[in-house]
């Protein structure tokens, strides 16, 4: 019996590597407007297929079509465009600032701007996000001051986190943005706990959990699904599938399942897959999931299909593991360009207004940076005190830490 077949280990590989021609022909993409919009109290079993399709609103002609369209008016869409453009401009400046040594580290959102920006607008005040390091759009779309973000990035004397955290690891309770952790996936189950607390207190606030495609492999992703499924927690479970986890393509985390959304099926958690580069689609799906949660109908799993167009972080060089042109071949296009085209198409925007907006946004970002730099950058100017390192470890400083602080001279 033994010995018939020689076993062999299957190690998944991406279709292409540096030097190869990018090929996304295997990515099945549904036509915009073709995927149905179920009622929010639908039985999960009845929408199994929605974990394998891609909900899209903007078609090739930049029109908003189908049952998921029609939720946002022109003002809201222009706001959305401005948020995405701001995030992109912000990223560009901060990438430069990092290269100039003004900060140690940065992580950009290039190509993924729609996901967090559009999601944010589906939430109500008091709701809480548990983000990863790639959802600064949540802050920008909620009008968190850019200068505060930069103060944190520069670890300067106005840094709201007192220099304690790595750049971009923001925290803002007031803006519904939980403190970012460097440890992947931990926030996913914390979000479920926050949502459970809201339910325990008969509150109406809901939570949103965020995780990357690669990080779904982490165990706290499972913990999150288990607890959310068992207690029907009012939480939206977001997976941002940007195809890459540093140098590792999504196939390593995903394994045999066709999609990450499918992970919800084992828990009877309704799972939707959406075009992450389509501001309108992201917003519509987010709204659906948020409504479900707020109506006490429990968790929803959403996979945003997008592409990490930039490097993983300023410490990374993607040309070592994927074709340089892969980003251009990404079939879902660029979220900013797509929303811009739609606004123009509906007569609510123009190339001129866009150019003007771009310039204004650039000015805003530069002005914010100037202001932030007045308070210092990592190696120059104002900076947090070493005393700040000793503070806040505990609510009250215990004696041993006070001795250490004194020994350190502060």
């Amino acid at each position: 019996m033994a010995g018939e077949t020689r076993l062999s280990l299957h190690v998944p590989e991406p279709e292409v590597r540096p030097g190869d021609t990018p090929d996304f022909s295997n990515v099945a993409i549904d036509r915009a407007g073709t995927i149905r919009r179920p009622e929010i109290d639908v039985v999960p079993e009845e929408i199994r297929d929605l974990a394998f399709s891609i909900i899209r609103v903007l078609n090739r002609d930049a029109e908003a079509v189908g049952p998921w369209s029609g939720l946002l008016d022109a003002d809201e869409l222009r706001d959305g465009l401005r948020h995405m453009m701001t995030l992109r401009a912000f990223d560009a400046r901060m990438m430069l600032a990092q290269r100039q040594g003004k900060t140690s580290f940065y992580m950009q959102h290039l190509g993924e701007e729609a996901v967090a920006c559009a999601f944010r607008k589906a939430l109500a005040p008091g709701d809480m996000n548990f983000p990863t390091y790639r959802q600064a759009g949540l802050l920008i779309a909620d009008d968190y001051p850019l200068v505060e973000m930069m103060n944190q990035i520069f670890s300067n004397e106005r840094d709201p986190l007192k220099g304690r955290q790595l750049p971009i690891m923001y925290s803002s309770r007031a803006h519904g943005f939980f403190s970012i952790s460097g440890n992947l996936a931990t926030q996913f189950v914390q979000a479920v706990g926050w949502a459970m607390a809201s339910a325990i207190k008969h509150d109406s606030k809901i939570a949103a959990a965020w995780i990357g495609d690669g990080s779904t492999a982490e165990s706290d992703f499972h913990a999150g699904l288990v607890f959310a499924s068992t207690y029907k927690a009012p939480v939206v479970l977001n997976i941002v599938n940007n195809q890459w986890a540093i140098s590792t393509f999504q196939g390593i985390a995903r394994g045999g399942a066709g999609t990450f959304a499918a992970r919800g099926h084992g828990f009877a958690i309704p799972a939707l897959r959406v075009d992450g580069n389509d501001y309108l689609a992201v917003h519509a799906v987010a709204r659906w999931a948020v409504e479900r949660a707020r109506a006490n109908l429990g968790p929803t799993l959403v996979e945003y299909v997008t592409y990490r167009a930039g490097a993983h972080s300023t410490s990374d060089d993607p040309t070592a593991y994927r074709p340089q042109t892969e980003s251009d071949s990404w079939p879902l296009g660029d979220p900013v360009m797509r929303l811009k085209a739609h606004l123009i198409r509906i007569g609510a925007w123009s190339e001129e207004r866009h150019a003007q907006a771009e310039a204004e946004i650039a000015d805003t970002v530069v002005a914010a940076q100037r202001e932030a730099e007045r308070h210092g950058t990592l190696h120059a100017g104002g900076h947090p005190s070493p005393r700040d390192m000793f503070e806040g470890v505990y609510a009250e400083m215990p004696p041993h830490l006070r001795r250490q602080r004194q020994r350190a001279g502060y």
Binding site: S179, T186, V189, Q190, V192, G193, W194, K201, A395
Partner: protein, 337 residues
């Protein structure tokens, strides 16, 4: 005053905490309907409802992780890890999240949770029902670590832990649940009834974290102990008629260094005892601190009596456990120098 076992005192503390503050929630594996495998949460679900005291899936990381989320919302979760030996799957959430949340968010979010877990050996529980992992918590900035040795402290310290605005690791020496244990496993079990520290005040009181208690004053040597080992040390000192001062640390972090240093400066000799493995155990920290702060008062090196550097065995439990013979030997040796 009522006499309580350690289990009853803990249950009473939870009851008082839940009664005083609606934000206190209690959960963990088997803690809801059944009331916990050691019955510390018995009756709480019936009294406070199943959204304030409930069973969880078996996922320690999920238990602590959801508790952190609840704490960030504004609740005060008090959760149970069924045995300290099973806390490791939750270690990341404790170390990387609960412990650092206040600091890294500059107070924007905090994690006032209490993580209870039965600890220590002496019940033939083998390697996965006997461990004493306190040193794995004392090394982590942002955590507090508490080990009560009697019912009265257990209630007062647990109430203080739940009220504390920082995450507290609350280690319950399971060998003490039903009675004090002096290490003489061959003798009949003593119940708590009759023990002065089993007299537990009714209602609310709290025992501040960070204060040691001198259980027996003495001049010849200092014994630093916590949990079960307090009773072992006391019994042994009494049996041998040694005039040792026995200090019950109660809270390992923050540590009552003033009390420790005062005692050792007085006695000039120090024996540290704990059940955990020797190397990098909390005894190492105690020895390091004592030699640093009392160097010129020490007549002999600080001695450590601890579990051996092996997994906690089943059959050889009483060879592993740092019982009266080993404590006595160490005291004798320290006194001879």
């Amino acid at each position: 005053m009522a006499t309580m076992t350690m289990i009853e005192a803990i249950r009473d503390a939870l009851d008082v905490a839940m009664g005083r503050d609606d934000d206190v929630v209690v959960f963990g594996e088997d803690v809801g309907y059944f009331g916990g495998v050691f019955r510390c949460t018995q009756g709480l679900q019936a009294k406070y409802g199943k959204t304030r005291c409930f069973d969880t899936p078996i996922n320690e990381s999920g238990i602590v992780g959801t508790a952190i989320g609840m704490a960030a919302y504004g609740l005060r979760p008090c959760l149970e890890i069924q045995f300290a030996d099973y806390v490791y799957p939750a270690y990341d959430q404790i170390v990387s999240e609960a412990a650092r949340l206040r600091h890294r968010s500059n107070g924007d979010f905090t994690a006032p949770l209490t993580i209870r877990m039965p600890t220590g050996g002496g019940i033939f529980g083998g390697q996965t029902h006997s461990q004493s992992p306190e040193a794995l918590f004392t090394h982590v900035a942002g955590l507090k670590t508490v080990v009560p040795s009697n019912p009265r402290d257990a209630k007062g310290l647990l109430l203080a832990a739940i009220e504390d605005d920082d995450p507290v690791i609350f280690l319950e020496p399971k060998r003490l649940y039903n009675g004090p244990f002096d290490g003489h496993h061959e003798r009949a079990v003593t119940p708590w009834a009759g023990h002065p520290l089993a007299e537990v005040p009714a209602g609310y009181y709290s025992e501040p974290l960070g204060r040691a208690a001198i259980r027996r004053p003495g001049a010849a040597a200092t014994v630093l102990a916590y949990g079960t080992m307090v009773h072992v040390a006391l019994a042994d000192v009494a049996a041998r008629g040694i005039d040792a001062e026995v200090v019950d640390l109660r809270t390992l972090l923050p540590l009552d260094l003033d009390c420790i240093a005062a005692s050792v400066r007085k006695t000039g000799r120090c024996v540290v005892v704990h059940e955990a493995t020797l190397t990098s155990g909390f005894g190492a920290e105690l020895a390091a601190l004592v030699q640093e702060h009392c160097f010129f008062h020490l007549e002999a090196p600080v001695a450590r009596v601890t579990g051996w550097d092996t997994p906690y065995p089943h059959a050889q439990e009483w060879d592993y456990f740092p019982g009266p013979a080993r404590v006595g030997e160490a005291l004798a040796a320290v006194l001879e120098i």
